[in-house]
């Protein structure tokens, strides 16, 4: 049996988490790793179910929960995340970062916003 986390990892792009699962969510029954279990629920619920129960964003930035609650909120603003499977990433491992075409030519004025 596959004992990997069944949740998606990412914010702007989503990919299979694939971390070893820690336990099942008591509500939805999905296998979840420690990062996808909600600390606010005492690690009983997954972050999605905890989010549904709490109905809002958490501002406690010291817990993993806030990333997922913020992510859900961010998606409601119309953002469509890219969804990738694990295999898609393997082809990107050999990309080099040799381009020197970078500049940061800020010349803004304090009052122009």
């Amino acid at each position: 049996m596959n004992n990997l986390c069944q949740f998606k990892r990412g914010f702007f792009t989503l990919r299979t988490c694939n971390r070893p699962s820690m336990k099942q969510c008591e509500t939805c029954g999905k296998l979840s790793c420690q990062f996808h279990l909600s600390a606010q629920s005492g690690m009983r619920l997954c972050v999605d179910c905890a989010q549904k129960q709490n109905q809002g964003r958490t501002s406690n930035y010291q817990e993993d929960d806030w990333v997922y609650s913020y992510r859900s909120w961010y998606y409601t603003s119309g953002y469509q995340p890219f969804r990738f499977g694990n295999q898609d990433y393997s082809s990107f491992e050999n990309y080099d970062d040799t381009s020197a075409d970078w500049d940061d030519d800020y010349a803004g004025d304090f009052n122009d916003s």
């Binding site: 792009t13 930035y61 990309y95 803004g108």
Partner: protein, 324 residues
């Protein structure tokens, strides 16, 4: 890893706490551990600070006993007791001063816990979601006062004739009476990371701090009023691999979501994005001595700003239809 034995801190942690400046490369989990530890440093040192306070008080106690000895010695006209009293006073003073400085040394390690928890940690959490666990994040952080490390963009002053003109780039000294104002650019948070989809992000978050200062002569010294206004600018250079994403080449646009430019270079699209956020914050200080409290940098930055700018790059991109 080199560790400071006396405090249980690594060299990097100790240097950062002392100087509030940091430049290093670590994985997201390592950075989270690092910043969680330094944010909670007061708890970490609480026992040690308390111990120093107690030892400092013991030193003061020894000194008081020394004074009592001298009082008795004078009453009893005893040279031995006077000598003993003097020794106790000296030992007490040295003891108290030693632990006073030890305590001050520990308290100089304080960092703004709120700042680290609300402004730096969230960026690392977001990046951790997007990155492979083993991939490092380069960070270059400077949390020093903007008027010590910032670059002055604009400066003007109206100074009374008889008073010497202050140096440009530094806040007015207590003797340079008049009105000074200007704008500092305070770059406090640089970083670079390669995300799991091959996108390389390097960011530069800086404050524009508009300050004005009035120094009014008084009978004794001068009274100073300092005002500052912060705005946040988030700039990003993003390299998106063509193999995965498609973007409209040679695009330059100013929009509410940010000003951006897209160019092709080799196997990548290069995006330069910059956005100014209007989460302006005001601060006022009045000083009778001419010295101001250090104003921490990055006051108006919110994690939303970082997400909005990086999110714009992904909103502009489309998945490459040719990818396998």
């Amino acid at each position: 890893m080199e560790t400071s034995k006396s405090k249980g801190l690594t060299k990097l942690e100790e240097d950062f706490l002392r100087s509030k400046v940091l430049e290093d490369k670590k994985t997201a989990d390592e950075w989270l551990n690092f910043f969680n530890k330094v944010a909670n440093i007061e708890d970490f040192f609480e026992d040690e600070i308390e111990r120093c306070k107690k030892l400092q008080n013991i030193g003061l106690g020894i000194m008081s006993v020394g004074f009592l000895f001298i009082i008795f010695a004078i009453a009893l006209r005893s040279g031995v007791l006077i000598a003993l009293g003097l020794i106790l006073i000296v030992v007490g003073i040295v003891w108290a001063i030693t632990y006073y400085f030890k305590k001050s040394d520990l308290t100089s390690f304080r960092v703004d816990r709120y700042f680290i928890e609300q402004k730096i940690l969230p960026v690392i959490y977001i990046l951790r979601e997007e990155m492979k666990s083993s991939e490092p994040i380069s960070l270059n952080i400077d949390l020093g006062c903007f008027h010590q490390t910032g670059e002055i963009l604009q400066y003007s002053e109206l100074v009374s004739d008889s008073i010497s003109i202050m140096d440009v780039g530094s806040p007015a000294g207590p003797n340079s009476l008049g009105f000074h104002d200007g704008i500092y650019k305070d770059s406090w948070f640089f970083g670079e990371a390669t995300l799991a989809d091959g996108v390389n992000v390097s960011w530069n978050i800086f404050d524009l701090v508009k300050f004005s200062e009035v120094i009014i002569p008084k009978r004794r010294g001068s009274k100073c009023k300092w005002r500052s206004k912060y705005k946040t600018i988030v700039g990003m250079n993003i390299k998106m691999p063509k193999k995965r994403y498609e973007l409209q080449d040679n695009t330059k646009q100013k929009s509410e979501e940010g000003n951006f430019r897209i160019k092709k270079s080799g196997d990548y699209y290069l995006l330069d994005i910059e956005r100014k956020f209007d989460n302006t914050q005001f601060f006022k200080q009045t000083s009778q001595t001419g010295f101001f409290e250090c104003e921490n940098t990055g006051k108006s930055f919110e994690i939303k700003n970082f997400i909005d700018v990086l999110g714009l790059a992904y909103k502009l991109a489309k998945p490459n239809a040719k990818q396998k």
